[in-house]
Symmetry: none
Subunit: 182 residues, 2 copies
DNA sequence: TCACCTTGGTGAATATACTGAACAGAGGGC
DNA sequence: GCCCTCTGTTCAGTATATTCACCAAGGTGA
C-alpha cells in the first residue's frame, strides 16, 4: 500500500545519481531499483535498507514525517546570528533561532585560545559537527581526539563530552543538535 | 540487516495477541508472522505495513524508535566522510554515516563553479546550514538570496528549494537535516 | 553517417517471501 | 484415561521479489 517509489526517485535525482550508480553503491540490481521507484513491487526491508544506506539515510529517517509551519524568512546573515554563549571565550551563535517549530539547533561555535567547555551536560539528543578552522580536542565518553579543519564528529549527547581549543589561534566549529535541547 | 523481529514480538505480546490472532487481523498468514518475529526473513514493505496496521501502528511510528546499540567511534576524519553525491559537480559528504540510530544528516557540501541542485523537491524535514567558502544563491519558496562565508539559512524542507554556486570558485556549505530524509 | 557511451526499462530465470496444512507441546475439562 | 483447544513452529508448494541479459532512446565525438 505505501507508495514510496516517487520519494525514492526524488532522493536519487537530488543526488544526481543514475539508477545504475545507485545500484552499484547499494549492491542492489538496477532493475530492482527501477521497479521500486515505479511502485511495481514492494521491496523487502533488507533491500530498502541497503538502498537507503547508499543514499545516506536510514529507515527511521525515511519513514519519519513532520508537520510544519508558517511564513518566515529562511535566511540569516552573519550579523544576524544570535549569540547564546560567552562571546569572549566561547561563542555559540545560533542559525534560525526564531524558526517556528524548530527541531534542530545549528551552531557556529568559536573557541578562544585555550578555551574549554568544561565537564559535560547529559542530554537525550544527538549532535554532529565539523571543525572549519583551528584545532579542537574533543572528548566523548572515554575517547579523546584532536580534530582539525575538515574533521567531523557525531555522537549521542548522553555520553559525557567536552571540547577544548588546543590550537594557537581561535578555533571554529559548525555543529548541529537534535532535538534542540538547550 | 535490520533486526525488527524482537520488537514486533514484544509489541504483539504487549497487546496480548497470539500469532494467529494477529495474522487474522492483518490478513497475513501466521507462519509469515512467526518467521518475521524470529528474523528468519525480511518482510516486504507491504506485508510489514499490514502487520503494523493490525497493531495500531504505522511505518513511521514503528521505525521512529528503532534503535541499534553497537559500539562506534564518534570521530570522523576528513578522509572518512562518505560521498553520497556525484563528486565532480556537487559533492555531499556525510559525517557519521554509520552512527547507530542516526537522526541527523550532517553534510559537507561542495559545489563546482556554476553547479546547481536543479529543480526543488519538497520533503518533510528541517534543514540548516552555513556557507564556509564561496558564494551560493539559495532559493526557498519564492525567496532568493546570495549567501557568502558566515551567512546561514534555516528552513522547512517542505518548501521547494534549491542551491546554486554563483561564485567564481568552488563553494562549500556545512549543513544539517533532521530527520535524515534528504 | 557510424561507433560508442550513457540513460531507464523489459522479459525469462532464479532466489526468496509468503501460504496452507500438518506437527508437537501445554493445559483444561470431564 | 480421552478429547478438545490453544500455543508456536515446520515444511512443501506457490506467489513474488530480485537478478541478469538484452533492448531502445538520447547524446557525443569523429
Amino acid at each position: 500500500m505505501p507508495k514510496i517509489g516517487l520519494k525514492l526517485r526524488e532522493m536519487r535525482r537530488r543526488r544526481d545519481l543514475s539508477v545504475r550508480e545507485l545500484a552499484a553503491r547499494s549492491g542492489i540490481s538496477h532493475s530492482t531499483i527501477s521497479l521500486i521507484e515505479r511502485d511495481k513491487m514492494s521491496p523487502s526491508i533488507d533491500t530498502l535498507s541497503a538502498v537507503l544506506d547508499a543514499l545516506g539515510t536510514t529507515l527511521p529517517g525515511f519513514f519519519s514525517d513532520l508537520q510544519s509551519s508558517l511564513p518566515y524568512t529562511p535566511f540569516y546573515g552573519a550579523e544576524d546570528l544570535v549569540e547564546i554563549g560567552k562571546a569572549e571565550t566561547i561563542s555559540y551563535r545560533v542559525i534560525g533561532l526564531n524558526h517556528p517549530n524548530r527541531q534542530l539547533l545549528m551552531l557556529h561555535e568559536t573557541y578562544a585560545v585555550g578555551a574549554d567547555t568544561g565537564e559535560a551536560f547529559a542530554h537525550a539528543a544527538q549532535e554532529a559537527g565539523m571543525v572549519i578552522s583551528g584545532a579542537v580536542e574533543v572528548t566523548v565518553g572515554g575517547q579523546k581526539k584532536i580534530l582539525k579543519k575538515g574533521d567531523g564528529y557525531y555522537f549521542d549527547s548522553r555520553l559525557p563530552h567536552c571540547f577544548r581549543n588546543v590550537g594557537e589561534e581561535r578555533s571554529e566549529i559548525l555543529s548541529a543538535i537534535t532535538p534542540p535541547t538547550y
